[in-house]
Amino acid sequence: MKLMADKLVNQLSVVRHWLGKLLRSLKLPQPQKLKVSFVLSFCKRLFYYFRIWILMSKNSFMTVLSRKKILFLFLLGKILRFSFFTAFIYFLVLGAKGLSGYTKEQVVFFFLTFSLIDILSQFLFREVYRFRSLVVTGDLDLVLTKPVSTLFRVLMGGADVIDFITIPPLLFAVCYVGNLFQPSYLQIFLYILLFFDGFLVALAFHIAVLALGILTLEIDHSIMIYRDLVALGKLPIDIYREPLRGILTFIFPVAIMVSLPAKALMGLVSLQGVFLSLTSAVLTFFVSLRFWNFALKKYTSASS
């Protein structure tokens, strides 16, 4: 019993160490002792960031909403792209009578899950697409001097209203098609858990792209290559041959990000798979944070 307690204390200290690193990067108070005052100040800090995010998002929304014709064109384009691809998958799997053992509803559900994670990350992390000009002009200096985490500002500084509009209908489609599989409560729980796990991987990828942006001054193609890689998760990862399947599972964990949540809802994931997925997502996240910290130290403030 004592041995188990010691083990638990050891594990908790490791968690506290990593949590401390995460909080330091967000400029949040460190957990010296897990006291009520710490929890309160943590919540206060989170609320502070939430208020900043609301403010920045409001500004970003107002900029786009003031140009209604452009909003309409992009919204229509996104809806058309989504509808065309759904129709393509539907007719393809219908004609081919299945895809790698999956039914047409299952393949469509894979695509819907991909779309939801993709749209959600685009909605929240749209500012990444504008990061290059900050680095090239040296305007990142102005962000660095502010009493807010730089990573938070360059990652979440401009939520996209066009993606925001498309989230509710997409969420409805996910619920509708997901319900066709009559999932149990455990499957729904695992789906939600792995969905957020996948979202953590998406966050890690965006942080890595930002870090690459500082080191190479190149964002546009890096982010598009990320999107092309993630797009491979539009379909079940089982269709790919080795070594591509291995790469998409272990090196660029697109499988964890997109395929696994969908499989969880269909009851096709073991608990070991869930555990592995959670571990690798957390690992990917921390590696990306370290990469960001490394890159930030290389920022030269050129042309400012």
Partner: protein, 267 residues
Amino acid sequence: MKKYLSIFNISFQQEFAYRINFIMWRVRNVLQIFLVFFLWDAVFKDPGRVVFGYNREGILTYVLGLIIVKSFVFSSKSMDVAGEISRGELSNYLVKPVSYFKYWITRDLSSKSLNLSFAFFETLFLFLILKPSFFIQTDPILLIFFLLSLILAFSLFSLLLFIVSAITFWMPEAGWGAHFLISIISVEFMSGALFPLDILPHFLQRIVNYTPFPYMVFFPMQVYLGKILDSAAVKGILISGLWILVLYFIMTLVWRKGLKVYEAYGR
């Protein structure tokens, strides 16, 4: 002619000025092919299977052929025309002794020649790593029709880009949005650049066939695969030609009207 040759050379050298950009763009093209390739590879796991009128060899040739056809038809610089109109930079060209359309067509040709040469190496690379069954067309008549259909496809896409860019005369901020909707999304799905259009139900195929989009990728690929023969190929080429005339008429009309409202904002 000499000045356009100079434009071709300068434009070609410009592509090399941003080498990483260009290489990343080509990497993206290869990555996009992976999704389509493995999708069809999964559908045609059984080598003897025939789906939507295609066998394994036919469909994989279609997918790999997309790299070549897309790099020739869709590699283009003319999308920047919209930006030049909205920033008032069009005025610089209006006072110069060059035809604005010929200038951009020359730049497009330069971009296409570079992209096409890379596309050949990429196809070879994919061919070596994926080892797909590949159909090589040997009928000289069909090969001539294929080349002709590619030239027509290039003309169709160029005209479409100029028409879409002209929207900026009336809505200066809508240039990129219009290109996103028409030149990227609509073209990608309705031209056959993502999947062969004959997997769609007949009523949808009929609707799409009333547009110029299928003549940009789907028709040339069908000619190459020998699925469209003799009189049907000639008919398709004539329809492409007709679409070119229609789009050319629309483009001249739109640009004439557009230049009248052009106010060179930002200059």
